[in-house]
Amino acid sequence: MIRWLFAVLLTVLALPLAAQDSMPPAPYAYNQLADPRLEAEASALMHTLRCLKCQSQSIADSDAPMAGDMRHQVRARILAGESPEAIRRWLIARYGDYVSYEPEVSSTTWPLFAVPLLVILIVAGVLLRRLGKRRSDGDDAGAAA
């Protein structure tokens, strides 16, 4: 079921806006930055930003015109010397946590970080209980742990 019928909803969502604009894409929508180091920074950032139109893709994986415009913003700002984190914060200030695939610890996302810590504790607990004690006994089946 991976990605299949991906386009079903895409068509449904896009149909009201089916008319595509005929404008050429923004300069940096489909063109890379000349400096490979900056392009790598931009590319890493783009893979973690959510396309607003297509909902479940990063802007680096989407053909939607708006994703192209967002890629242009990212590359243009990186070229102007902004740091990737500053660009991410700029977008989060406009669209909320939704736009970033990289959740930050905040009042709404803390369980995402607390639960893995809890899982680590539980895992450690389970392993210690099951494996920690060296058991001298052999095949005494039937005894509850």
Binding site: M1, L5, Y98
Partner: protein
């Protein structure tokens, strides 16, 4: 008429599921020594039901093959001009058809279980069949009451609406049915686990019955996910192969649970340990496959590719989920306390390693589950968040890295208790490989941490996978052991592909005029021409790209930008140049106003290893099934022969001293 026969077959199958449930339950209620007159019907009901459900599916398949436009389902999802193969695969490219395929496979598995499985105590078998009937009944109700695939149109449609072009692809023809069959296999494992729990028969004999079903389901899930990932890779046009999308996670979670279950059930079969844990994982694996279906079809999660979204259907599936999983967990809570713990073992032992990795797999499952469902939780409070790769990758790695290390060592340990000192050479080798490869790769450049770790682990795991064969006569190694070795090696291969893709991929996006050349890695890519072409139900702009490696002979790649007309939609068909050490991935985009074309090219070293690894894992699973079955058959043959001989001896003994009349 055909469609009505199909519908009737479904109703009859549903009735038989009721009979199976009642008959199984009555057998269970009967006291020791008593037999209920209805008890004999459970097995035949399952077998006949299998024929009816499969018949219903075949009839729907026929309706799609001949494009019977008087059926609503065919009219909304097919088209007379579609290529024949995609008419057939379109049968399950929609909600109703795929649910019918699901119940078809479910009934077929139930039938096989009832017809061929003779090892379990009759009471356990009856309980299993009752649970199986109960599960099937829910899905029959779902089909018949809310998603009837055989619904007629009052007036036959003149032409169908066509199938989504993204689904008109051979990858999509294979991938969903494979996953469904895997899900269904887990439902049989679930029924068996409940049957054993209800009749207090959680023991190695039960584990040996359950193992082939779990292995089979796991193989199918592995292959289904592999196929789906490769399909997404070449069809979506941006070179990604895993996106941590809710729908993808929905298929990964049952796999994680099934992987844990498969190892746990092996421990139970071989060593009579981990009884409760195996039952829990049996329930969990089936829960995850139901949950996947719910997430994909209910539309509660924002996923672009949510499939056939309908809140009403979502409510129905949630109801079934509550009934089965809620019920199973209640029985588990009530009964599991009475299940004895099973045999004990030391931390440094084969079981110890398996328990460790079982716990790690469960932890990864918990992380994926949390990340997938968390947006659902916040949306209840009107807050929208996104959880994606930057969360799943590191959070998953916390548990995956120790798991992979233990996985390298585990098969070298002895059952029950072992001394780490005994395998110190192997331990040193594994540690040296991990550290050495990471140091070597870091020497050549700056790479992200996770791919780097992946490379080190892949190297160590690739070697460690074969260490269990050391010092053994290869010809005498059991087939099932080969299965394990190959599956573990497959994990290493897949991990290597993932790490290489993550660390060494190169990307080139450019606007190219015809005749222009772009360089990527060792390859020079020349755009020779762009020409319009037409297919059976689409038109396209096709680019001719001449690819020269290090100035050698050109290879022609022809990526297309396709426009389908029913339904109207465009797709980009990527063109792939596969080398032994990677793939060149090319896509053609739009034409700019100055006449240049958008060309996207990637060089992805060893990316194919991701899916080769998946295939190896599947192959390993198949070998394990074959190996176990052969051993079981031999054992059964031997015991029947033994019984025969004893009977003969008794008959002789009884006959000989009889005095003549």
């Amino acid at each position: 008429m055909i469609a009505e026969i199909g519908l009737a077959a479904l109703w009859l199958a549903a009735a038989l599921a009721v009979l199976q449930l009642v008959s199984g339950a009555l057998t269970l209620r009967a006291g020791p020594g008593q037999t209920n007159p209805l008890a004999i019907y459970a097995r035949p009901a399952a077998v006949v039901q299998a024929f009816l459900a499969v018949l219903a599916f075949l009839l729907l398949l026929r309706a799609f093959a001949v494009t019977d436009l008087s059926l609503k389902l065919v009219a909304t999802n097919s088209h007379s001009m579609k290529p024949f193969i995609y008419k057939l695969t379109g049968t399950w490219g929609n909600h109703e058809g795929s649910m019918l395929l699901w119940v078809g496979v479910l009934a077929a598995s139930g039938g096989m279980l009832a017809a061929f499985e003779r090892r379990l105590p009759e009471r356990t078998m009856a309980a299993t069949l009752a649970v199986q009937g109960f599960v099937a009944l829910g899905f029959y109700a779902f089909l018949l009451l809310s998603s009837n695939p055989f619904e007629r149109l009052a007036v036959p449609a003149a032409e169908g609406n066509g199938l989504n072009p993204l689904l008109q692809d051979i990858g999509l023809a294979i991938h969903p049915p494979t996953l469904y069959a895997g899900y269904v296999g887990l439902s049989v494992a679930f029924s068996l686990a409940m049957g054993a729990l209800l009749t207090r028969e959680v023991n190695p004999a039960f584990a040996r019955v359950m193992r082939p079903w779990v292995l089979g389901a796991w193989v199918l899930l592995t292959l289904g996910i592999t196929a789906g990932s490769y399909w997404a890779y070449y069809e979506l046009g941006w070179g990604g192969w895993w996106f941590w999308d809710p729908v993808e996670n929905a298929s990964l979670m049952p796999w994680l649970a099934a992987t844990a279950l498969m190892h746990s059930v092996s421990v139970l079969a071989a060593r009579d340990a981990l009884r409760t844990w195996t039952i829990m994982l049996g329930v969990l694996a089936f829960s995850m496959s139901m949950l996947g279906t719910f997430l994909v079809r209910s539309g509660v999660l924002t996923s672009v590719h949510a499939f056939a979204v309908d809140p009403e259907r979502g409510a129905f599936i949630l109801g079934l989920l509550g009934l089965y999983i809620g019920g199973a967990l209640t029985i588990f809570a009530l009964r599991a306390g009475a299940v004895a713990e099973g045999k004990r073992f030391a931390a440094a032992s084969r079981e110890g390693a398996l328990v460790f990795n079982n716990v790690m797999l469960s932890a990864i499952l918990a992380i994926v589950l949390l990340g997938t469902l968390y947006p659902l939780l916040t949306e209840a409070f009107d807050v929208r968040v996104s959880v994606g790769p930057p969360y799943f990758n590191p959070a998953g790695a916390i548990f995956a890295v120790p798991m992979l290390l233990v996985m390298a060592v585990g098969p070298l340990l002895r059952w029950k208790s072992d001394k780490p000192a005994r395998i110190q050479f192997e331990l040193a080798l594994i540690a040296a490989l991990v550290i050495g490869v990471i140091a070597l790769v870091s020497f050549f450049g700056q790479f992200p941490l996770l791919p780097l770790l992946g490379l080190g682990l892949a190297a160590a795991l690739g070697v460690a996978a074969f260490l269990p064969l050391r010092g053994r006569t290869l010809a005498r190694v059991p087939v099932a052991t080969w299965g394990m070795v190959i599956a573990h090696f497959g994990i290493a291969v897949s991990l290597f592909g993932m790490a290489c893709e993550g660390a060494f991929s190169e990307e080139r996006l450019a606007a190219v005029a015809p005749g222009g050349t772009e360089q990527i890695g060792d390859f020079a890519v020349t755009l020779e021409a762009v020409t319009p072409i037409a297919g059976p139900n689409w038109t396209a702009m096709e680019a001719r790209l001449a690819v020269r490696q290090n100035g050698g002979e050109p290879v022609i790649l022809t990526p297309q930008a396709r426009s389908f007309w029913s339904p109207p939609q465009s797709t980009s068909e990527s063109a792939l140049l596969t080398k032994w050490n990677g793939q060149l991935y090319a896509v053609i985009g739009n034409q700019a106003e100055d006449g240049r074309w958008q060309v996207r090219v990637w060089w992805k070293p060893f990316v194919t290893f991701i899916w080769y690894g998946g295939l190896l894992i599947g192959l390993g699973g198949i070998l394990s099934i074959v190996g176990r079955m052969r051993v079981d058959l031999k054992r059964r043959a031997a015991s029947t022969m033994g019984a025969q001989r004893r009977a003969d001896v008794e008959a002789l003994g009884a006959a000989a001293p009889q005095p003549a009349e």
